[in-house]
Symmetry: C2
Subunit: 134 residues, 2 copies
Amino acid sequence: MTTRAVSETQAEENQPEFDVFARRCPSRQTMEAVTGRWGVLVIAGLHAGSMRFSELRRRVDGVSEKMLSQTLHTLERDGLVNRVAPAGFPSRVDYSLTPLGSRVAAELVDLIELLEGSMPDIMAARERYDRERA
Amino acid sequence: MTTRAVSETQAEENQPEFDVFARRCPSRQTMEAVTGRWGVLVIAGLHAGSMRFSELRRRVDGVSEKMLSQTLHTLERDGLVNRVAPAGFPSRVDYSLTPLGSRVAAELVDLIELLEGSMPDIMAARERYDRERA
DNA sequence: CGGTATCCTATTAGATACTG
DNA sequence: CAGTATCTAATAGGATACCG
């Protein structure tokens, strides 16, 4: 039955399986970049359209320049965000989502809407939980 | 006239708008619990079905007992996870998703599949990025 | 305007030991 | 088995100052 085994092996070599549940899988780093404290908000924020650094900073309430810059670099590196800096003064840089970034953003927006819409239930659950162990 | 205006105002008061982009909105804490380093993996892991503490720990490769315990408590508090501990020895505790937790899990699974399936592109993007500034 | 560099603190996470 | 408690290490994050 070696034929079958060989073709499976080749398939695995051509398309290695990625698994976020595995500690050393590269997909986990990307997942952490996407779902990190600021990653979600930056990606979802850009889903509304191209935005400048300072616009994005106002949109993502509470993010520091440092963290916004760092988050954008990581997302750009993974091919989720485009950075376009037309020459000129005053300097101006536009950030936007790549096609892949847009697909990720769509998922995140769904999640955001689900959570925002469920907040009454969630807050009730919290109160119940806290009351039970008070 | 006023009747309409009043009922709209009441509707807003009864259902305040939650916005993750706002720093002090409670939805942001929930978002951080859900999309935190271990939150995603715990919720998505439980999407396969009810699981015991140690099973879940094996499934979520790399999580420590402490972090798994902490993550589960937070998710239970927000009403996403159920904890059932039937009396007996040896002790046994089953964790499962609530209906809301299942809906969140479905979104996360979509995101995971999207990212895992895009890893070849993502890794190519990373190499390009790194090469360009080397 | 759009960042980077530095320094310092707070939070998170891991290792280890222990318990019902 | 399913945790908790404690201590330490690593990392994320914020404040400030400065640059092209």
